[in-house]
Symmetry: C2
Subunit: 329 residues, 2 copies
């Protein structure tokens, strides 16, 4: 797998992605001042547009793609993503996201909650406009799983019980992988792709999504805030344990294991504690372990595409998969 | 118009409303522990179930009502309503609702935001299950208008410009009346009622909805917390001006008008200021004025039903309208 720069990843669907920006701007002009400003702020902040890109790429495997239908689905996925980011940022009390101030800090918590609700409703309405009932059904289920997973995670965090690696994978499946998998499937479905192709693309999105989230959680330990575009160490401070720490708490050697447990319980509050935790996790091989799990999953994603025709869309999906594990921010 | 006790209002659709409770409980069992508990708490708290009742009653004017389809729509309206209540309560920092502790106080703000999101998504998904695209489209628009109206209200409140009666009516139209109007229309539509009947029922819901909200805002000044089931004076404390105060600030006589302006600017923070404001608004006839506007709107709602056949469903809608202006809590 060759390292790829992000901006070039989606070259194949660049025209669609450019059209998407215009589409999102135009669509949200229907809202009154409040939502329009909030969403304008978010759109200006940029973002990877991974979900719409997956929709556009997956649609290339269909036989009868109607560009307007595909655009609606792509826009809906980005709106849902934006809504979850706005609500997450309130919950995490995050100040910055993508190096831009978060909505609730620029406006208020009230505006942030309402703008998120607006975006959810608009997204599901857009999907209904396609007149393909599956579209709304699938994305409604995605949103519910995300919420359910997050609530579960929150309750688990409060309970203080150590999650297993299986718990962790279940949670990130609901939180991240399902959305990416369904974006792929829905793009293919809307474009009239055969059912087996829909399933293949779903599988690709699922495995890549798990890999993506593991790397994201890893970067929360190892990246710098500037490169990452958001504050690091957020998970632990919210009491959420991710793979490196789950691994380290089981696999590091005494006396470091006891020390790590103490640091985790205190949520590695200070800078010194944070650095100490990093070095213990480095020595226990926990970062390398998480990286390996991510690599294995991404390899599964890559292999699943073998059965698809070798088009430029497939190449783009392969590059995307390799980017997921190679990225440093 | 005869005064009616609330519990008897929906006698005609009591079987459907009882089935609704079971349906909501069962449906939300699909969620994991978190959402299930939150929603169980809310369902146990009761509520008037006005929107589902409107759906069931309006469906009686159709020719081919499929009970399962109507139930899905009714359940969706109540879920959307519950979601907005949960999110509103976070925003208002309300501690009680319907004499029951609010979600964010029992659990956390995080759980409350996510449970609301879950309910929105489930509601729009349920509507998609009817395979009638209008259902999702209509309710998606309702949610967006509600959010948009609330954000607008919030921005207006911060700006400090005095809203006119027309501004107020526009806002409560988005916030309350549209939802009631569309619940009526959708019930009729799903039951295969003629389009003119759908329009009549929409108009009924719209006018009654405006009347309902005006009375609600009036009770926020005049009711006691215990009877009302929530804390009074919330609107003003959030900087939102409603009809009695909008009227009083224009129509009270000096020097009371200046005093009222001062009290409003200070949001009548103390108990003494609150009582003083109440007595000024009483003398300026502002409570009576608001009550009259509500009565006029409800009379319009009642009159709009003249063209419908005189069934027990029509009688129930008429009783409901009279309840709206007669209620004291």
């Amino acid at each position: 797998m060759v390292k790829v720069e992000f901006p070039n990843l989606f070259q194949v669907v660049r025209p669609e992605l450019n059209a998407l920006e215009t589409y999102l701007q135009d669509d949200l002009q229907q809202a009154r001042t409040g939502v329009r400003e909030v969403v304008g702020h978010l759109l200006a902040g940029g973002g990877k547009r991974i979900r719409p890109a997956l929709v556009f790429l997956a649609a290339r495997f269909g036989r009868s793609a109607d560009p307007d239908q595909i655009m609606k689905v792509a826009a809906a996925t980005e709106m849902i993503h934006m809504a979850t980011l706005i609500h997450d940022d309130i919950l995490d009390e995050a100040m910055v996201r993508r190096n831009v101030a978060t909505v609730h800090t620029v406006w208020s918590r009230r505006v942030a909650i309402l703008a998120g609700d607006y975006l959810f409703a608009r997204a599901l309405g857009l999907l209904a406009e396609t007149r393909e009932p599956e579209a709304t059904l699938i994305m409604s289920a995605v949103v519910r799983q995300m919420c359910d997973g997050e609530i579960q995670q929150n309750v688990a965090a409060l309970d203080g019980e150590l999650p297993t690696e299986a718990d962790y994978l279940e949670r990130i499946g609901k939180k991240t992988a399902l959305f990416l998998a369904e974006s792929c499937r829905l793009g293919a479905l809307m474009a009239g792709a055969e059912e087996w192709k829909q399933r293949v693309l779903y599988t690709f999105g699922w495995s890549m999504g798990l890999g993506f989230q593991i790397v994201d959680d890893l970067l929360d330990f190892t990246a710098t805030s500037v490169a990452f575009g958001k504050v690091v160490g957020v998970d632990l401070r919210s009491g959420v344990l991710t793979l490196p720490l789950i691994h380290g708490l089981v696999n590091s050697e005494e006396p470091e294991r006891s020390r790590l447990t103490k640091l985790a319980q205190a949520r590695a509050a200070g800078q010194d504690e944070w650095v100490e935790m990093q070095s213990i996790l480095g020595r226990s091989g926990s970062f390398a372990y998480a990286q390996n799990v991510a690599q294995r999953l991404v390899r599964e994603a890559v292999d699943s595409l073998d059965v698809l025709p070798p088009t430029e869309a497939r190449e783009a999906l392969l590059s995307m998969a390799s980017y997921v594990v190679e990225r440093e921010a």
